[in-house]
């Protein structure tokens, strides 16, 4: 019974996510024994994009705002972090602070203008803002290094001297990223279950009625947009430490990739997009070793999901599990299983 309960309804996908995180946390143990150190870096990259995809879920899966410009915050966070480390001080905390504050302010301003309009107009405005930042990164060579990107960003350390660890160490950086992702994930869970988060979900369902209940809908949307922008910036900042910062972090491909990851995983779950990011990167890695047309194949997979499993991997998992349980129920132990299937139907509502 307890075994069955673990895999029930909404909780089912959630537990799979915890297992995934746990397995990921053990990833460093296998380096050089089971696989090369490339996979440690790869795991870190999955976590960073997962964090970025989670930021998209907050506005798209919980508020109903479809932004086409999440790259603006990812790129801004990356540049702000890298420039702080390069020019100001070799401190991860200062870099984080500047990235978060800057992304928060910029998200507020973009939100202020974009949230006045809805649907496709909102989407186009956010895309336009992201393209503006892309242009700036290209042209403002003295600050951003233009198309060459930022070279020689130092690796910051964490801890209190003399007990410090360098984030340049792939093991340290992996666990640092994992800790950030877990922290932000649980904060986000709290957020969506807070009074504020519940209003966001009501806005997604029927924003007119929310307004007539006395909530200033625009203000709520803008706050959600700011929260999302800050998390996106945090992901970008981590990306700057992992990899190389050039204008491509701000390019619209970055936005498209993260939207695909979030949709692929399953919107409105917070963990789905993290799994979606991992699945996306894993497939890209696999496919690109066979063919340079990996985008085409990934695109087809994506189309399949949009049509046949709009709730993404999480939805696919739920449906499959329900069918399997129903199949099992019809062959053996009918009473016990029927009850489980019933419960699950309730949990999904």
């Amino acid at each position: 019974m307890t075994f069955l309960r673990v895999f029930r309804g909404r909780q089912g996908g959630y537990y799979c996510f915890l297992i995934f995180l746990f397995a990921l946390a053990l990833l460093p143990l296998g380096v050089d024994r089971l696989y090369s150190s490339f996979y440690l870096r790869f795991g870190t990259e999955m976590l960073i994009w997962g964090l970025f995809a989670l930021s998209v879920d907050l506005i798209m899966g919980y508020t109903g705002l479809v932004s086409l410009g999440p790259a603006a915050f990812f790129g801004l966070g990356a540049y702000a972090g890298a420039i702080t480390l390069l020019r100001l001080a070799d401190s991860i905390w200062l870099a984080l602070l500047i990235s978060l504050v800057l992304c928060g302010i910029v998200a507020w301003v973009i939100g202020y203008f974009s949230i006045r309009v809805k649907g496709i107009y909102f989407a186009m405005l956010t895309l336009a803002f992201a393209q503006i930042f892309y242009e700036i990164a290209f042209r403002w060579r003295s600050l951003t290094g233009g198309s060459d990107g930022l070279i020689g960003v130092p690796d910051p350390t964490i801890g209190i001297p003399p007990y410090t660890l360098s984030l340049g160490d792939p093991y340290v950086f992996f666990y640092f990223t994992l800790a950030v992702v877990i922290l932000v994930y649980f904060l986000s869970v709290r957020l969506v279950n807070s009074p504020f988060g519940r209003v966001l979900q009501a806005i997604q369902d029927n924003e007119e009625r929310v307004e007539f209940l006395g909530y200033p809908v625009r203000v709520f949307k803008r706050r959600a947009f700011v929260a999302s922008g800050m998390i996106g910036g945090l992901a970008g900042m981590l990306f700057a430490l992992l990899s190389f910062v050039d204008p491509s972090v701000l390019y619209w491909f970055t936005s498209v990739d993260v939207l695909v990851m979030a949709l692929l995983g399953g919107l409105g779950t917070l963990y789905g997009p993290i799994i979606g990011a991992a699945a996306f990167l894993f497939s890209r890695d696999l496919l690109s070793s066979y063919t340079e047309y990996w985008r085409l194949i990934l695109g087809l997979i994506f189309v399949w999901f949009v049509i046949f499993s709009p709730q993404g991997l999480v939805g696919l998992y739920r449906v499959t599990k329900r069918r399997l349980l129903a199949l099992w129920a019809s062959s053996s132990m009918p009473i016990l299983i029927n009850k489980v299937v019933d419960d699950e139907d309730h949990a999904d509502r």
Partner: protein, 253 residues
């Protein structure tokens, strides 16, 4: 009924006009509503009743004229600002949260009055008083046993009750109900009439209603609109014996 007294009027509408192009949907309308009074707004289709509600609740802004609620002007304010002052409405067409549970529909509405309604990291389900008030309200509108159902799965009549419940949950001082019995069976209409009778005690209510027996059962006063204008106002007796009203109804309904 006594004559209109300005001092205890909760709502005052003065020379209110709203045009859509050349159409005057509401034309130079004026009336008052006392606290605790239930006023029915009646009139043929297209008379401008819903437009009047849209003007009062901020969905539309007036072309001219003024609306005063508890002494302060609310004309042209945003809907949320008006709602915050204690004015709630139900809609002629269902306007619920279809994908949320019945409980959550009401809970979000109750939360709108709470001090921590936009708090970020407290648990919504732990908000003091909100859970209790939600249960109480579900009891009042007779939907307690459906609390866990998705609201779009309710019967049409129950969804209409929920529609009223959402407005009521914000603890308004003035409640505007736009055809709460539209599309209902005779039995549901009767139940809804009783529900409105119960909830309207001590509350100021504006009620748009086509069923004349509902109006007669509930209304303290009646306002009759036709082509955006007020053609009669008074007690049910006064209004039903008014010749202009009979004309409008024979000509227009």
């Amino acid at each position: 009924m006594k004559t209109m007294q300005t001092d205890n009027a909760i709502l005052q509408v003065r020379k209110l006009t709203r045009s859509f192009g050349r159409l005057l949907a509401v034309n130079n309308l004026g009336f008052e509503l006392k606290s605790g009074e239930l006023k029915a707004v009646i009139g043929p289709n297209g008379a401008g009743k819903t437009t009047l509600f849209n003007l009062i609740t901020g969905k539309l802004s007036p072309t001219s004229g003024d609306i005063r609620f508890q002494g302060g002007s609310i004309a042209g304010l945003a809907p949320h600002a008006i709602a915050q002052r204690g004015l709630a409405r139900s809609f002629q067409l269902l306007n619920l949260f279809p994908n949320l549970s019945v409980f959550e529909n009401v809970r979000v509405a109750v939360q709108a009055r709470h001090r921590l309604r936009s708090s970020l990291f407290t648990a919504a389900d732990g908000l003091k008083g909100v859970q209790g008030k939600t249960e109480e309200l579900l009891e009042r509108i007779g939907l307690s046993s459906y609390a866990d159902h998705q609201s779009s799965q309710l019967s049409y009549g129950d969804q209409r009750s929920l529609e009223i419940g959402l407005a009521l949950a914000t603890e308004p001082k003035l409640l505007l109900l736009d055809e709460p019995t539209s599309g209902m069976s005779p039995l549901e209409t009767q139940q809804t009439t009783q529900l409105i009778g119960r909830i309207s005690k001590g509350l100021a209510v504006l009620l748009i209603e086509h069923h004349i027996e509902v109006v007669m059962a509930l209304a303290d006063t009646i306002l009759v609109m036709h082509h955006g204008e007020k053609i009669a106002e008074g007690t049910p007796q006064q209004v039903s014996s008014d010749s202009k009203v009979q004309e409008a109804y024979l000509g227009g309904l």
